[in-house]
Subunit: 334 residues, 2 copies
Amino acid sequence: MATIYQVSELAGVSLATVSRVMNKNTRVSDKTKQKVLDAMAQLGYKPNSIAQSLASNCTNSVGILVSELHGPFFAQMMAGIESELRAAGKHVIITTGHSEEDKEQEGIEFLISRRCDAIILHVEAVSDDYLIKLSQGSTPVYLMSRYVEQLKDNCISLDNQLGGYLATKSILDQGHTQIAYIAGPQFKADAFNRLEGHKQALTEAGVKFDPTLYYIGDFNETGGSKGLKHFIDEKLSFTALVCANDEMASGAMKYAREHGYNLPNDLSIIGFDNVIFANYLYPTLTTIDNPVAKMGEMAAKLVLKDVYQNKNLVINRFFEPTLMQRDSSAPLTV
Amino acid sequence: MATIYQVSELAGVSLATVSRVMNKNTRVSDKTKQKVLDAMAQLGYKPNSIAQSLASNCTNSVGILVSELHGPFFAQMMAGIESELRAAGKHVIITTGHSEEDKEQEGIEFLISRRCDAIILHVEAVSDDYLIKLSQGSTPVYLMSRYVEQLKDNCISLDNQLGGYLATKSILDQGHTQIAYIAGPQFKADAFNRLEGHKQALTEAGVKFDPTLYYIGDFNETGGSKGLKHFIDEKLSFTALVCANDEMASGAMKYAREHGYNLPNDLSIIGFDNVIFANYLYPTLTTIDNPVAKMGEMAAKLVLKDVYQNKNLVINRFFEPTLMQRDSSAPLTV
DNA sequence: AATAATATGGCAACAATTTATCAAGTCTCA
DNA sequence: TGAGACTTGATAAATTGTTGCCATATTATT
């Protein structure tokens, strides 16, 4: 591959001039500039980004850590981040943490050792203290879907409690009062906050939270089917089921159908996230829209603004979920 | 951040010795080694991977180009690649091509300019000739789900024709003869080959391919619903619908249900890919399993073997799809 | 034409490592 | 005790850029 030396030689200019042409910070006459550009084209010169990184101490790469690479939720998030950064000539280095503390930490170390200019994390297992300490290091840290007071300027977060509230309120508004709830793992902040919102809506409506109609799932399909099975096996009485995410809702829907339930007449089900396939389930899944792709874009914009001095970007750190009323939930019929 | 100089100073050994400890190619006495390791630990030294890359001409990064970041298909593929590479201390740089020729080329250039040690491509719009020329460059190129004869050693491919054949055969075996087909964009090799398999199965069964029962979709949900709408609007008679992927099948299923079809009694539907949510649709989607995660792992292994001299890895370049019989297709009832 | 402004050259230092070489020192074992 | 093997030091060159400095050359302005 051609180097800057070969370009300078072919163009008959000095090394410094080639650099000036590339970095656009000093004036270069049009004539000279053209000579250099021609030489570059002729040699097929591409600056070696590794050498640039070493010399300029800027790798133009942003590390991303997500829980899993598969799964529609993270896919949308990454798509949002990547498209925004890519347009700015930055690239993403992606790794996974599997919601386990040691793997998340290992992934973070990995990204830092790669000298990413910033890292965007969707971490669940690692503690707030760890994150605060991490932020004191030299690599800027941004958090997705997690709010840490001390790092609030670097958090892009969703009002999960509001989402949980909206979900349950929509069910209450349809006349249901016997409401089962399948939560996500409670160490995950969003799962916890969604449950808080659920309780808030119940309280507001004067309905008591029934601990027997509460099950902690794993955020996967199986969590939903197991949860519903549990409620049915216990012969509990309920007319609606609120799930803390769409995967669990789809698992529950499948289990319900297989056990003779007519949805939504026999049971109203509501999910959370508005994952792509929610609209293709049968019945179409009522859910809470989680604007995760937009949040991903915003995280990228925040990095572009803070780290890459892209001044005039407007940042919004808080996103609100909205209800997507579809066919899996319906007014209570007596 | 600490450098190798500081480590050598603190450990009281020479620079060369520190390098020897890190690169394990020359013997170093245990005592000296320990001194160096202690110094590293004390300083929190992490080798600067950028400088390593420049000096060793190896970036330990593998570029991946997929069509889209969202979508369950690519998610599984990337998950397969990433987990395998990550375990070997390599990382992935991901970008997207959106199935458009110029964007795919731009993405490839981008990855190469980043000096990836290898690139794994899932490209659809770019020509075979381009890929052949690309392979003559200095960056090794690997292709996912695309077979190019001249690059066969670098292709990880699925027998899409067999898959198409299996899908249609399973429908024929259930007694259907009026079979509609929603294809994917025909410039995509896998879409083309699936159709070939479809025709092969028809021919074998003595059923004529009916061009009026043929629609080209876009591989998204809307392609499926539009395709089925087209067939219905044309008042065509058919008892089964074969779709070239699961997204289109799910779109078709939704459209069918909304128009009063009782699935699978009124219409058998089969998809392709066995995407995660296929099993959560209603009825559960009969489909062709596409072992894309395994193929991703294998692509990673191939890179590890070829590029990173990881000798004893067993490589399998060809994968076979299998039928997943579920509830969306059923024997023809007269 | 003199002065000022701009453009360019040439050089050197620097970024953090790898790799190679040679010499010198230390140890082992017969 | 001495030969040979092993270990380490010291140094240098290479990787491909960036950045800054100052001197010189070229062009523009008045």
